[in-house]
Amino acid sequence: MIINTRASRRRLALTVLTVFAIVAVFVVRLVDIQVVRAADLTADADERRTMQVTTYGVRGSIVDANGVVLADSVERFDITAAPNNANLDDTWLTRDGERVKVPTTEAIQAIADLTGVDANSIYQILATDREAQWAILAPAVTLDVFKKVRALQIPWVYSELHPARTYPSGAIAGNLVGFIGTDGPLAGTELKQDECLAATNGKSTYESSADGVRLPGSTIVQQEAEDGGTIHLTVDADLQWYTQQVLAQQATAMGADWATAMIVEVKTGRILAGADWPSVDPNDLDSVGNDERGARIFASPFEPGSVMKVATFASLLDQGKITPTTQVTVPGIYTEGLPEGASLKDSWAHGDLRLTATGVLVNSSNIGTAILAQKLSTQVRHDDLEAFGFNSDTAVDFLGESSGSVLPMDQTDAITNLTQQFGQGMSATSAQIASLYQTIGNGGVHMPLTLVDGCELPDGTWTQKPSTQATRVVSEYAADTTVQMMEVVATEGSLKNVLKIPGYRVAAKTGTAEVAENGSYGSDRIVSVAGLVPAGDPQYAIVVTFAKPDTMRTSAAAAPAFNAIMKQVIKTFRITPHTNGAPSLPTVW
């Protein structure tokens, strides 16, 4: 009995110990898995089960004042392949709804036919690196092509989304819209307004079943994709097209180097058209030369010539120094107060002329303007030019904008000091000239030049509202009287037959500027016509400029384009014909 008891006790103890040992092993293992390596294992498991997806936000579009799309985001697809999975001898594909085994070259030919990529180069991509897991066969194909390639169901062919940009209006406002390169926006509004336009890509994860179906309720959004905002430009695409068309037509006919035209709404400073010739087609950057892809209207200052006289006359009227009928005797050559040997001349030879102030403007006499300008102190002349917006960027603050130059008084000689008053020895961009005419047309009140009406975010809120800060530069009397004097340019000036539009009152000023090259003025000219319509109550300021025309080197070269654009403005904005006649101002005495 005792022996039995002892044996059984020992056995029992052994059993208990063994059980405890086994339990201890399990516990250790359990702790190891559940506590020690828990984080690693969970991550490992998640990785196998969890799919991470990038959701793409859509880059905002750029539209004109009427909502016409100038730049839009589209989806393109990169056709890719896994060369390591591709058998170069034969492969499966679906043809007419049936799976068939065909030689791989045939499959390659099918892809080549659809995408337009050379079949040989596709073969090379597959054959060169047989270990590669990824290679691109055809970049950025359209949905149509992508669907057809997908329908082939070739096992080693894949696709990737490739967000792209399209410019349905082509070169219309291409200078203002800008363009995008492979790594992001490169020019114009695309770059300048990138903050508004850019989208934020989102990230989310979900757990998927063995066959790739998303498990219900397992989606975790780490970051929502956010679409970009829409940039509303102030330009009118149709008017912009017409302006560019007229520029191209006239510039080609005259062999000009370049041409610009702007239409600005006088009461608001909004740019309704800002045309350049040549102008880039953002769909095809090679459509123009490398240095013609920007917006010359903002970036290229030039000596504007006599269109600047309007600023001088407005200053003189504002200071009460002249009236439209102030009498001036204009000599054929002017040397008074100038250094030894220096003189001013007019563009045509004449003896002493008895002109009124209006007559000086109508005949565009440099000498007459210089004589009148000296009624103002140099300080006032300089300050007024700066107040009109010269020597500083416009409120548009376009990418690469130039502020032109009006030299400070202490850096100018006696001649430049005077020539600045008729647009030589200083420089300005087309935008600055347009801004000057806006101010004159708006009763002397300068409105900030505007190109962007705002950024409309996807939730409908608007940001980046343009400034509407009005600044008075000259008195209303001075501005309105200047417009009346400009009207005589259109009714009695040498270009009256080209400038007039039956039934409408037009105010205009011409300019034929000499171009300084290598330190001296040559025979090349920059010709402009700037004006306001309707003259009775100016609504639109128009500036047209052609640089270095070959066949005609006077402002007569710019007048037909100015006239055509003005007619289009009248039709576009339905300006009604005038009912009262133009005021008559004497030009001689």
């Binding site: 016409v68 799309v69 839009d72 589209v74 989806e75 359209t142 949905l143 149509d144 399209t166 410019y167 349905p168 209006s169 082509g170 070169a171 219309i172 079943s209 179906v213 998303r214 498990l215 219900p216 695409a237 149709d238 097209w241 560019q244 068309q245 191209a248 037509q249 080609t252 102008s279 087609d281 769909n283 095809d284 459509s287 539009i501 039956p502 039934g503 409408y504 007619k567 009248i570 039709k571 339905r574 300006i575 009604t576 014909p577």
Partner: protein, 201 residues
């Protein structure tokens, strides 16, 4: 316990077994009568059946629910794919529409149909019935000079094909233009500066 010791011992008479007490009549099994509450509290088979069945039903429902849910997941997945495809389709069509609506395409088509640009602006004054402004000859616009690399001329209407289509339509008696009837006739003359126009769609 040897046999020699036996003779010395008087044979003791065993005592009579005391008479047994008269046997009492067997006691009936007594039980405390349960109160109504106690009787009610006693577990019943029915309850067990109900509980087990309940658990079974719950498990079954859970199973069905997860089947339906999984089925829904597949359905959602399929619909999401559909939606994505349709959105892409919409985008592609929109892209085409924008291109068709581009000024360059419209002018090319207008020219192909023989349209010309008007000259001087003219206005019809509805109030007086007169025309203001001085007319000039309509001019043919030169070919479009504002490039658009996306257009290849394939979207320009062929006037001959259009005429043929028109002829075929005329033959079938449908003009293709439907003017809404019954709109209130202009009882009041339109305000000066506005043009009366029929409502068409």
């Amino acid at each position: 316990m040897s046999a020699a010791t036996h003779g010395n011992l008087a044979i003791a008479r065993p005592l009579r077994r005391p008479a047994e007490a008269p046997a009492a009549p067997p006691r009936r099994h007594l039980e405390i009568a349960p109160s109504r509450a106690q009787r009610r509290a006693r577990p019943r088979l029915a309850h067990a059946v109900v509980t087990i069945a309940g658990i079974g039903v719950i498990l079954l429902v859970q199973l069905l629910l997860s089947i339906v849910l999984a089925d829904g997941a597949y359905q959602i997945s399929a619909l999401q794919t559909d939606q994505r495809e349709l959105l892409r389709e919409e985008q592609a069509l929109n892209e085409q529409l924008e291109l068709l609506g581009s000024t360059q395409n419209l002018t090319a088509n207008a020219e192909a149909l023989g349209m010309v640009a008007s000259g001087n602006p003219l206005f019809l004054d509805v109030a007086t019935g007169g025309v203001s402004g001085k007319g000039s000859k309509a001019v043919k616009l030169p070919d479009n000079l504002v490039g658009n690399a996306l257009l290849d001329g394939s979207m320009v209407i062929d006037p001959a094909a259009l005429a043929a289509a028109q002829a075929a339509e005329d033959a079938s008696g449908d003009t293709g233009l439907h003017v809404v009837e019954g709109g209130t006739p202009a009882a009041t003359p339109p305000a000066p500066g506005t043009l009366p126009s029929p409502t068409t769609h």
